[in-house]
Every structure is written in structure tokens, then in C-alpha cells.
């Protein structure tokens, strides 16, 4: 279902059930080798996956790979270099813990923020306002401009490596951030990077929990896989199998994370769960040298945006609009239809078909592999337009991926921010790591 844009090679491997024997069981604990030491010297060694960095200002546990404290915004690596130091992609699940949602828990409860490892002591320490840089008072609002403190689940940045980064943001209109992302990357550009974005379905309860669980589960499956120097076709086959396994893991994570109420918990709860069980979209992109692989369910997208040549949308939406576009309807017409966003496939207990569509793309020149939720592409859908937007954004923000992603998210919010916005990007170098074109 992918678009065959001229100049971009895309292969669809839809519904393939490829056993990939060289890809073993997912290694969730895959310590990065030769992780450059960027942490404070008193940490217990970068080799340890469990290493936690504490913010020097507020003591909040830092998200691995982040350059600024999510709680207070203080720079974690001083001085903040123009190009970020590569940071080992530690296992984020150790510091970025999923909240255990309890029955009846208010979604706005601060406890629903992803980090609950930090104790409340952080609340008594001054936080920095995300809007004006002022101090957040004990009442949770800025002392200068009155903006509310940003909850971690509402906005966070990941930058597992200098060439990969992303921003996940609540946007303006929605009261909850049901988007999620999970990223990992080799330290050196040209290696392997994994970018997963899941967009929770707003009408379903606890979709923010579901999407985060899904994204992380998929990322864990994909991280650390090395198809090796096999031929291109074999690598595509191997990645297709892994993407399928990742979607399967994400699907299971949704079900486990949300733990749909059993019939014994009351008819009303069971009915509510049955009518709108938590669910989310899924898109995972892998950069493997000059090969890009994408798997998806729903309408979160992956684009390949080469600096030169034609930009292309690698994924093809599982949505009413996507189906119509595939059938030949004009994109603008299809995407402006009222049903445009009705997705036809997703992850969640009410959808048993969680086999992702998969496609590959040749990353044969310098460019960006970009993965995003519809909160981004709603404002800039065509691949060519998106590449221009990235180009102008880079001119303003510089080329650090997390900064570019932040610029794009800010731009989407400037357009109205009607939905949650997530943008994750990997920078592909020209002629990177020719592993042999198959």
C-alpha cells in the first residue's frame, strides 16, 4: 500500500510471515558497547544498563539520553554543546516507569505521569517553567507567567544518540497526551536506530498508558537486533520478521498494561471496556545502515526525506483516507473528509489482526527518516512539503535531531496543536555504511 514515488525504492511486504532465524528472542537488556561517558563521574559506570542520572538541580531521575531534566529543564550535560554528546541508549524502562493505573484513577492525576520513581521531594525543589523560564511555585504554576508545570507525560524529549532524537507533546487542545514514543540508536551515525511512535485512541480510556507500553515493548524487541552483513533481501526479510514480532509484543503490552476489567468487576465497567477498550496506532522505523524498514498499524507515519531527490511517505495509512488514497482518490480530498481519521487497523484487545504492514526504503543519500503521529502530519501531509518544513526548521534550530523535532512540534502547535504531536527523527549520512545494496 505504499506510494511508489519516483526515485525512492519501496518494497511492501504486507502480511508476510517470515521466520527470521538469525533474529533471536528479543534481547531487552542489550548494553550498548563503548558508550561514551557523558554522565557525571560519580555514576556507577555507563556499562550498567540500570545507570540512573539525577538532575543536578532538582534531583529528578533523568530520562536516559535526555539533555535536559524533564522535571525542571536544567541542562544535564554542562556545558550544553551545540551538538549533543552521544549518550548510551540505556534501558529506559528502569528509569521511566509506567504508572500503575488503578481503577477510577483520574487521568489528570500527577501520579499518572510516566516517572514515578522520583519521590515527592522533587516537588519542594524549584522547577523551571517551560514557557518563560521562571520558577514553578509549590502550587504547580509558574511564579512569573502562571503557566502550569509541564507533566512529564505531557512533554518529553528522547535523544538516544547524536543522530537520533524525538519529542512527544500533548499539543494544545487535548488535555492528555496519548501519543508515545520510544527510541534507541547506536552511538555512531550510520549504525542501527529504532524509532517507535504509538498514538492512543482518544475515545478509549487509558490509551495513554496503552500507547506508552506499546511503544516501549516494540522498541525493546527491535533494539539490539543485527541482521549482519546479509544480502539486502535477507535483511529486509529479517527486519520484517522482527517488526512483526515487535508489533506482537506491543499488542501484548497494551493488553497487559491496561488489564481490561474482568466481568466480575461489574457490568458497567465491562461494557465500557468492551465498547472502547484502550488501543493505539503503531509505527516502527528501523535505520540499518542504508536500509530503512518500517512497520505500521493505523495512521502514524514514517517518511524518508532525503536532502536531494524525492521525499516519500514510506508507510500507508490504515485509515479511511489511506484506503481511498490507495484506491486513487486525491490526497487532499481524502484527508479532508470527515471520516479521514477513522483508522481501520490498530493495536488493542478489540483488534486481533495486529500483523503490521511493512515496507523498506533505500537510504542512499543524506536525509532524515522521520516518524510522526497525525498531530504532526495533519498540518503537513505531503512528503515534499514536510521535507521543506524540515529544511526551514533545521535552518532555525540547527541539525540536532531532538532540536529539529522540537521545532517541528512547536510548529504544529503553532498551527493549532489540535492533537497530540510526536516527531522522531534519525539523521542519515550520505553514503552511510554501505552494507552492500542488494
Amino acid at each position: 500500500m505504499s506510494q511508489d514515488a519516483p526515485g525512492a525504492e519501496t518494497d511492501t511486504a504486507e502480511g508476510t510471515e517470515i521466520e527470521a532465524p538469525e533474529i533471536g528472542a528479543p534481547e531487552t537488556e542489550a548494553p550498548e558497547t563503548e558508550a561514551p561517558e557523558t554522565e557525571a563521574p560519580d555514576t556507577e559506570g555507563a556499562e550498567e544498563a540500570e545507570v540512573e542520572r539525577a538532575c543536578p538541580a532538582c534531583g529528578e531521575t533523568a530520562i536516559p539520553g535526555s539533555r535536559f531534566c524533564e522535571a525542571c529543564g536544567t541542562a544535564l550535560d554542562a556545558p550544553p554543546a551545540a551538538t549533543a554528546e552521544p549518550v548510551a541508549g540505556e534501558d529506559r524502562t528502569h528509569t521511566f516507569v509506567l504508572p500503575q493505573q488503578e481503577e477510577g484513577q483520574d487521568a489528570a492525576d500527577p501520579a499518572a505521569a510516566p516517572v514515578d520513581t522520583a519521590d515527592q521531594a522533587g516537588a519542594s525543589v524549584a522547577q523551571v517553567c517551560g514557557q518563560c523560564g521562571g520558577t514553578i511555585a509549590a502550587d504547580g504554576y509558574c511564579e512569573q507567567c502562571g503557566a502550569p508545570a509541564v507533566r512529564e507525560r505531557d512533554h518529553w524529549v528522547e535523544q538516544p544518540s547524536e543522530w537520533v532524537g524525538g519529542v512527544c507533546d500533548r499539543g494544545i487542545r487535548h488535555r492528555r497526551n496519548e501519543d508515545a514514543m520510544a527510541l534507541s540508536a547506536d552511538p555512531q551515525p550510520g549504525g542501527v536506530a529504532v524509532l517507535v511512535v504509538c498514538d492512543g485512541v482518544t475515545t478509549a480510556r487509558d490509551s495513554d498508558v496503552a500507547s506508552l507500553a506499546a511503544a516501549r515493548a516494540a522498541c525493546d524487541v527491535l533494539t539490539g537486533q543485527r541482521p549482519g552483513d546479509a544480502e539486502r533481501a535477507a535483511r529486509i526479510q529479517a527486519w520484517t520478521g522482527t517488526l512483526t514480532a515487535a508489533a506482537e509484543a506491543a499488542h501484548r503490552a497494551v493488553i497487559v498494561a491496561v488489564d481490561a476489567p474482568a466481568p466480575s468487576q461489574g457490568r458497567a465497567a465491562a461494557q465500557a471496556a468492551a465498547s472502547s477498550p484502550p488501543s493505539c496506532t503503531f509505527v516502527a522505523a528501523v535505520v540499518d545502515g542504508d536500509l530503512g524498514m518500517v512497520g505500521w498499524l493505523g495512521d502514524s507515519r514514517a517518511y524518508w526525506l532525503p536532502d536531494e531527490g524525492d521525499a516519500v511517505q514510506v508507510s500507508a495509512d490504515d485509515s479511511w483516507a489511506g484506503v481511498r488514497i490507495a484506491m486513487g482518490m486525491d490526497r487532499e480530498e481524502a484527508e479532508s473528509s470527515p471520516q479521514a481519521h477513522a483508522i481501520t487497523r490498530w493495536l488493542g484487545p478489540d483488534n486481533l489482526d495486529h500483523q503490521p504492514q511493512c515496507a523498506s526504503v533505500a537510504l542512499d543519500s543524506a536525509g532524515w527518516l522521520l516518524v510522526c503521529s497525525d498531530g504532526m502530519w495533519n498540518y503537513c501531509s505531503p512528503a515534499g512539503a514536510l521535507r521543506e518544513l524540515v529544511r526551514t526548521t533545521v535552518a532555525a534550530t540547527g541539525s540536532v535531531p531532538a532540536d529539529v523535532a522540537a521545532g517541528l512540534v512547536a510548529w504544529a502547535n503553532g498551527q493549532g496543536g489540535h492533537d497530540n504531536v510526536t516527531v522522531a527523527m534519525a539523521r542519515v549520512q550520505a553514503g552511510s555504511e554501505g552494507k552492500g545494496v542488494g
Partner: protein, 426 residues
């Protein structure tokens, strides 16, 4: 120990493009204790009695009784003095030849003060500004007294001073002490005493008959003695770029505090509210914010109670922009009610002024509107007083006719009562 509470009533949802946030802030003090007993300083009381010639007869004897009853209420240890006022102010107690100009209450002083009060005679003119200045001088002789309160009684206009002389005297003593004002009979000027009571954080009442004085003074002094929390201020923080449109006390009476702001820091203003007993006061705060996009949330104001420099209670006024009309068009009942009560006070005062100026058409319209609001909001006291000034044809519709030959006392009574508000009916 005194306890403090702040509760905010508002609709935080703003429509797209809307900028103004209104909220009612309910502040409550409990466990206030007694004046001068909190450890933060002594209390001081001065009773100021008009002894001008017009007071002669029933009024001065009633005033003497009332002053004596008030003295009986003053707790031992409280600094006190009594002033008699004509075109000059005279210290009645401590006796003019006494060495000390203000003394602490104790049984001997109480008996001596009663004797001194009994010797007060009515003879002379009226210069209220000079009375206030003398009170200020006497309070200054008791530097340990940080909580200072006076009762001022008059029966006439301030004939021996210009309005600006009175205003400058009020300005000179503002912040030094609180002053409850009482007018007896129909010959005093409501606007004049209102100026004093408002600026000096006191109440204003009209007493129709001299015999009402003693009971009123007793209640006044008891209330003063129950004000165990001195120097309370309302603080309002508004964000950078915002504008505080107004800060009003809206219950139990209406007082616009906006102009009384002193700066705590560039974003926070402090509005003095005087000493508190166990009581609840409501304030209305309006803040204008730069409009934000739909979905945005921010704090519009922090409202705090402060005792001295210490913040003792906090309330948050919020703003959330929404495109849900069901949310944004909802009007908070407290805000609506007090907005109505403020209009009620305004139309009564404007209606009476128009009536005095012979503009019956304006007076009829304004007072008709007043009847409408007072009826709808259940303000029975004001409704009753309005009915002495106008014939009501249709209370709900606000159709009235001006009464002929209205007693001046009834008009003054209505004027004085115009700022008394009721709470929201639940």
C-alpha cells in the same frame, strides 16, 4: 491559634479570544481570640463623640450612655482614650490636665473614664478632620499598641472644615487606625462619613434614634475586642503581562480595594483589610490576561491572606481556554450574584443623587433597577428600604414610581444600606 481559609468560586473556562477572568474569593478566619492578646502587640481604642451644639439634649445624654457602655466592653490592658469633638477636638479622658494622654484599661481607669464621659457637654461646631488628627496623636503615644480602632459618632455635617480639609486629615491618618462611623439622626452627610469609614477600613451605620446608640456601641466594642487577628491583608498575584482590573470586598459590605494596592513585588499587590474577628469576607477579583489558544491553561491569580508579612492561606484563580460553549458560557453563581450586588449599590446611589437633583426620570429608572436586583438576589433589607422611597408596581420587572414626601431619614438609610450585600442563596 487562628485558622485561615481561602476558597475560590469561578468558571475557569474562557471562550476563544476571551481575556477577563472573574472570581469570588471567600476568606474565613476562625479562632481569632481577643484583640491585643495574640502576642503581636497591644490593642488601643478611642471613642470620639460629637459634642457640637446640635447634640444638646437627648442626643448627648444618649451618647454619654453609649460611650460608657462601650468603655465597659474594653478589655483590661487595652489602651484607651475618649475625645469630644466640636470645631476643635478635646481630650475628655484621660482628663485634659492628666500627664498621660492615653492609658491602659483597668478598673480605676474605667471608673474615671465614666466620670469624664458624664461631664461631656454639647456646645460648639463640627470639624471632624481635627478629631481624627487628635485620635492619631493619642494613638501615637501608645507605640506598643499595633491594633488601633476608633468609634466616631456625629449628628451633623462637617461645617467647620472644607471637604478637602477633611480629605487631607483622612489621608494623613489612613493606615494608622481603623474607624467605625456612626451618624445619628437625619442631619449628617452620608457621603462625608462614607469617605471616612471606607478609607479607615470601618463600617458605616445610620442610627435613626438616639436611644439606639447604647446597644450599637456595645456591639461595636464587643466586635472590636473580638478582633484578635490584626493587620490582615489580601494579596493578589497576577502573571507577567496581566492586569488586575479590580479587587473588591463584596461581603459583608461592598468596598472597592483596587486603589489601596501597595506593591509586595512587581507581580503581587497587597490590599489592607484591617483586623479580623471570627468572620467570613468575600472578595471579587478580576484579572485581564493576554488571550491564549484554545486548550491552553494558566494561573490567572494567586489570592492570599497575609497577617503582617506571613502568608497564612492561599487560593488559585485559573484560566482555561476552551471551544466548548457549554463550559465557557456557564456563569459562576457567586460571581453573578456579587456583580449584581455591586450594580445594586451603584444604581441606588445614582438613583438617589438623580432624585436629589430633580431628575425624576433617571431616579425612577435607577431605583426601579435596584428593586429588580434586590428582589432577585433576596436582599430583603435593601428591598424594604427601597420600598420606603418608591412605590413598587412590578418588582420582577423593576417598574416603580417615586414616592412623594419621602422622609430624608429613609433616603439616607437606603443610601447607607446600599453597600450591604447578601450571600448567594443556595
Amino acid at each position: 491559634m487562628a485558622e485561615f481559609a481561602v476558597e475560590v468560586f469561578q468558571n475557569e473556562f474562557l471562550a476563544d479570544g476571551a481575556t477577563d477572568v472573574h472570581a469570588v474569593v471567600r476568606t474565613t478566619v476562625s479562632g481569632a481570640g481577643s484583640a491585643g492578646r495574640s502576642g503581636s502587640g497591644d490593642a488601643a481604642e478611642i471613642i470620639i463623640i460629637d459634642t457640637s451644639g446640635s447634640m444638646a439634649g437627648e442626643k448627648i445624654s444618649a451618647a454619654r450612655r453609649a460611650a460608657a457602655v462601650a468603655v465597659d466592653q474594653i478589655l483590661d490592658g487595652t489602651w484607651f482614650a475618649v475625645i469630644g469633638g466640636t470645631e476643635v477636638a478635646t481630650r475628655a479622658f484621660p482628663f485634659p490636665n492628666a500627664e498621660l494622654s492615653i492609658v491602659r484599661m483597668e478598673p480605676g481607669a474605667r471608673a474615671a473614664a465614666r466620670t469624664a464621659i458624664g461631664m461631656m457637654e454639647a456646645d460648639g461646631g463640627t470639624a471632624i478632620g481635627s478629631w481624627l488628627r487628635l485620635a492619631d496623636e493619642l494613638f501615637a503615644k501608645a507605640p506598643s499598641a499595633t491594633q488601633r480602632h476608633a468609634i466616631l459618632l456625629t449628628d451633623g455635617k462637617n461645617q467647620h472644615e472644607t471637604r478637602s480639609e477633611l480629605a487631607s486629615a483622612v489621608a494623613a491618618v489612613r493606615g494608622s487606625f481603623q474607624c467605625d462611623c456612626r451618624g445619628v439622626g437625619a442631619d449628617w452627610d452620608v457621603a462625608e462619613l462614607r469617605l471616612i469609614a471606607t478609607d479607615l477600613l470601618g463600617s458605616l451605620e445610620l442610627l435613626r434614634e438616639p436611644r439606639q446608640l447604647a446597644g450599637d456601641f456595645q456591639a461595636l466594642m464587643q466586635a472590636a475586642m473580638n478582633r484578635g487577628v490584626a493587620d490582615v491583608a489580601l494579596r493578589v498575584w497576577a502573571p507577567q503581562g496581566a492586569q488586575v482590573l479590580f479587587v473588591k470586598q463584596v461581603s459583608p459590605t461592598l468596598e472597592d480595594l483596587t486603589a489601596r494596592r501597595t506593591s509586595v513585588n512587581p507581580l503581587t499587590g497587597s490590599y489592607p483589610t484591617g483586623a479580623w474577628k471570627d468572620e467570613t469576607r468575600d472578595y471579587q477579583v478580576a484579572v485581564r490576561l493576554p488571550a491564549k489558544p484554545v486548550g491552553a491553561e494558566q494561573l490567572a491569580a494567586r489570592v492570599q491572606l497575609a497577617v503582617g508579612d506571613e502568608v497564612v492561606a492561599n487560593g488559585l484563580i485559573k484560566a482555561m481556554w476552551s471551544d466548548d460553549e457549554q463550559l465557557t458560557t456557564r456563569i459562576n453563581p457567586e460571581v453573578a450574584h456579587y456583580t449584581g450586588q455591586a450594580e445594586l449599590a451603584q444604581v441606588i446611589q445614582e438613583g438617589l443623587a438623580a432624585k436629589a437633583a430633580g431628575d425624576d426620570e433617571t431616579a425612577t429608572a435607577k431605583l426601579g433597577r435596584a428593586v429588580q436586583i434586590a428582589t432577585q438576589s433576596g436582599n430583603d433589607e435593601v428591598t424594604a428600604k427601597l420600598r420606603k422611597v418608591v412605590e413598587v408596581d412590578d418588582a420582577e420587572g423593576g417598574t416603580v414610581r417615586l414616592k412623594r414626601d419621602v422622609a430624608k431619614l429613609d433616603e439616607m438609610d437606603l443610601d447607607v444600606s446600599s453597600t450591604k450585600t447578601t450571600r448567594v442563596r443556595r
